[in-house]
Amino acid sequence: MVEVVGASYRAGGNLILDDVTARFRRGRFNVILGPNGAGKSSLLKIATGLLRPSAGHVTYDGRSVRDFGPAELARRRAVLSQHVELAFPLPVRDVVLMGRYPHYGRSPGAHDVEIVDRALEMVGMLDRRAQHYPTLSGGEQQKVQLARVLAQIWSYDGASAHNYLFLDEPTASLDVHYQIHLLDVARELLAHECTVVAILHDMNVAFHYGDAFFLMEHGRLVKEADDARELSTELIERVFRVTARRIPDPAGGEEIWRFTL
């Protein structure tokens, strides 16, 4: 479990995050929701250990994130961001191999190489392993980045450590096919005791994939819910400053949200 306890964050005199306590439980797909500027990214950066909170603390399974060495932390949690560009040409396999950097010293071991291939296989990019990263489409590049973060938290069999995957608006520039593919792969990780924490903007996608929801507004956590039905229409309308309608899915799935101003 990742626990963020009483976290505040100040930058340039502004209170970006105000006393946020959030527990992201193991084996769950935790979704952080909220309008732009609500402090979602800051919360994620604090939870990943990248930002040090002005007040409060973060623990991974009870151990403070500050007690981890940089490489040790990198073996436990990986972060997938929106879109990563490379100014230089590297083959896809070299990019994915970066995920193994925290695991080896000067040169990769045979199992690092093997994991790179398995991760590429998992995202369906194994046959593109020799292609140069900048020549791929945006969606394919994001698949490669997903393979990289998978390789990073891939533990060799029998390891008891539980790993965490953070997703910072990972589907922002992806078409619907790549969006679903990426989130399906992320959901598969839950079966392997991995904890997923994701910032998602599309409410329908969020409610379909998420198990737990953290709604943020003005740097505060305003609602925590284990079920999308606990989030009232009025609350969503107020926080996002929209008018919302919930329509039953004729195919029997979750309710569909429609938004207007």
Binding site: D94, V113, E193
Partner: protein
């Protein structure tokens, strides 16, 4: 996450173990370097055959009895030619590695010590000592280290200034970087020019020395200093190849991979500055080598920094040795400053990279 992996595939592993994939390139570069060192030692106003070289070296170390009739040749070879050969190769290695490091730090293929102000800052620092002398209040406490220390201070200030101006929120603005480089180079050049003008020391007076670089003043003391600086800095640099690769993804992504980008960048700027400063204090400013070497290696083989760092040392040494041979041969008995040759070769490469970058956008560069 636990996933049991399948038995490994040997072909895949061979492909992925980058060290073995690059060893062939290292071997070729090593052989070419050896050949160019021998050629550089033999060609010039005095020509020496390989057997003469071996004999003079043996005599110099006292392993074999000296032949009195050879005294002049031997002295020319041991005291003038050989230090020059080594100084040129070492300077090339320094500039090659420096270009690679700076391109990694700035995440852009158009950076090198000559363009980003590092060399010009070093020249200004070193020329201060040459002009005011090692007995001045400024330099006296530093003793014989005054020249390299002042060169380092100048180079470090110039590099940090350019880095700070061109970087905001972890991103480097190429346009600002080039302009900041121009400004810092102009200020340092003006300072060096002024000092040359008021100087009495003949070496400091020689503005060409500072602006275009030359190996004519090479001696063993210079070789030892540049060799020591290079060896230490290279040993640190090769350990950061992985981190520089991770930095290609951006500072945050590198941090998520455990690379501590702020420490990494500061450490590598210092390492880079130390070796460039010492080399520049000995031979003057030589531009474009640091630009061309990584560029050629990226085209030939790979942009992987674990490969680029050692390979750019080897190829840099080769290029500088060849350039020095050309500098000695082109207008005998006079010599061309090496910076003229490196500019003639490097400036078109620079323009070409700039054009491609503009056309395709930095993201798909070399792609």
């Amino acid at each position: 996450m636990r996933v049991r992996t399948r038995p490994s595939n040997p072909v895949t592993i061979h492909e992925m173990l980058n060290r073995s994939a690059y060893s062939g390139t290292y071997l070729v570069l090593g052989v070419v370097l050896l050949a160019s060192l021998i050629a550089s030692a033999g060609i010039g106003a005095f020509t020496f055959t390989p057997s003469e070289m071996v004999r003079y070296v043996g005599e110099g170390f006292g392993w074999i009895a000296t032949t009195p009739s050879d005294t002049l040749n031997r002295n020319v070879f041991l005291q003038l030619r050989l230090p020059r050969v080594f100084l040129a190769a070492l300077t090339g290695a320094v500039l090659g590695v420096s270009g690679t490091l700076m391109q990694g730090i700035f995440r852009n293929p158009i950076v090198e010590p000559g363009l980003a102000g590092t060399s010009a800052g070093a020249a200004l620092g070193a020329s201060l000592v040459f002009v005011f002398g090692t007995t001045s209040a400024l330099a006296r406490p530093l003793g014989s280290l005054a020249v390299p220390v002042m060169a380092f201070i100048g180079a470090f200030a110039a590099t940090m200034l350019v880095y700070r101006v061109s970087t905001s929120f972890g991103k480097v603005n190429v346009f600002t970087l080039l302009l900041a480089g121009i400004a810092v180079n102009a200020v340092c050049g003006a300072g060096t020019g002024f000092l040359s003008y008021v100087a009495r020391d003949p070496q400091a007076r020689n503005i060409t020395f500072w602006n275009l670089g030359t190996f004519t003043t090479a001696d063993w003391r210079g070789v030892v200093m540049v060799a020591a600086a290079f060896a230490g800095c290279f040993a640190i640099s090769v350990r950061h190849g992985k981190s520089l690769n991770a930095l290609m993804l951006g500072e945050d992504e590198a941090a998520f991979l455990g690379a501590e980008p702020e420490k990494l960048i500061l450490r590598l700027i210092i390492v880079n500055t130390v070796m460039v400063a010492v080399a520049t204090a000995m031979v003057g400013v030589i531009a474009f080598v640091g630009l061309v070497i990584p560029h050629v290696l990226r085209m030939l083989k790979s942009s992987d920094y674990t490969f680029l760092i050692p390979a750019s040392a080897l190829l840099g040494a080769v290029m500088m040795s060849v350039v020095d041979i050309v500098a000695r041969m082109i207008i005998p008995p006079a010599e061309l400053p090496v910076g003229i040759i490196t500019a003639v070769v490097g400036a078109p490469v620079f323009l070409w990279i700039l054009l491609r970058q503009q056309r395709r956008g930095a993201a798909s560069f070399y792609g």
